[in-house]
Amino acid sequence: MNLYRVLPAPPEVYDLASEEGQRDFLELSAAMGSESVRAIMVTNSAGDTVDDSGTSESLSRGADRKVLGLLRENADAVIVGASTIRSEPVPLPRTTPLVVLSASGNLHGHKLLSRGAPGERLVVASAPSHRESLAGALEGMPWELLPWDTEAPPEELQRVLKETSSSGHLLVEGGRKVWEFCAPITTELLIATIPPPRDSHEGIPPWWPGSPGNWELRSLFTDDAKMLYYRHEIAAAARPGA
């Protein structure tokens, strides 16, 4: 399973089936600075991030799941929304805390799965008043509440999320509602797509975080399925809190 770097030059091949290839890819895509909020989007050409089933299943191909898996393993916390854990089975990552953002406190019908691995950790960021409802929905599954005021500014969400994190590297996997909260604090955006996503009016998809001019394309990859991977970083002047 190869990932081919197109930019920056020179071209490079990463064999993601090998430890060496994984290490080299992770070094290249290492989070900038001491903290980051990285988001990964799988899209189609219209910029849609989910299909009719409410998941990205039919949009996924090539090496995207492998890339996602590598980024998960190397993040301090993985962030998803209630819609994600309701729409498809989500095993708890073996070594990385999974943070579920829930503004409503309703996680009934979730499809979270546990292997019972020692490194599994489920954290729900929600208002403390939702504790009882959450406990009912998550019965039989160890979890912890991360108190979060959904009305607070985005910087407060980042501060809260950092409590789950040793070095501040967070990975946002998606969900429409989650993206509303996380877009303002995102510092790195990895888009996996065939072909480049374009909105028919503005030239960018509606979920694009902030002004396109705030973002710099740092690297571009492709794979054997001709998937394209665009890795953008937010410009220093546009970083949250800058």
Binding site: M1, S53, T55, E57, S58, S60, R61, G62, R65, K66, L68, G69, E88, P89, P91, K111, L113, S114, R115
Partner: protein
């Protein structure tokens, strides 16, 4: 479909699923995902792997057919636990069965596991694709055996 159409191992797997709640069926699927048998390299010709095009994830299967026994092998990425779980069910349910038992598995077997409300039809169609390709390879294997007699 009749009960007798399923090989005993596949029938037992189905019963295990149906005895559980939907949430626990997903948990069982994850356990299957974690126990997909590793394929020893020396056992399989690298060129023999067939891509299961119905799956979004890169899933490959290959089958060795003898008159008495079918050996089923599959490869599926760990990052796709649902699809990998389906591959594992078919490998663990069909490996070692005789060709006639494999060919008799009804095409709607994936729908008999009670997972329709838990995973998408896209994923279930992926499992149907695996089953169809396994059976087609068994058919081809039997034809080759007949031709070499």
């Amino acid at each position: 479909m009749s009960e007798s159409a399923l090989p005993p191992s596949l029938a037992a797997i189905r019963e295990d699923f149906l005895a559980l709640s939907v949430q626990d069926r997903l948990q069982l699927l994850l356990e299957f995902s974690d126990t997909l048998p590793v394929v020893p390299e020396e056992l399989v010709d690298p060129d023999a792997w067939e891509r299961v095009e119905e799956c979004q994830s890169p899933v490959f299967i290959t089958v060795d057919t003898t008159p008495a026994e079918v050996m089923v092998y599959a490869s599926a990425p760990e990052e796709s636990p649902t699809t990998r779980g389906f591959a594992s069910i078919l490998v663990q349910g069909l490996h070692g069965m005789n060709p006639q038992q494999v060919l008799a598995v009804p095409p709607d077997f994936p729908l008999q596991l009670g997972l329709q409300n838990a995973v998408s039809m896209l994923r279930l169609r992926g499992m149907s694709g695996m089953l169809w390709r396994i059976k087609r390879q068994v058919d081809e294997g039997l034809a080759e055996l007949a031709a070499t007699k």
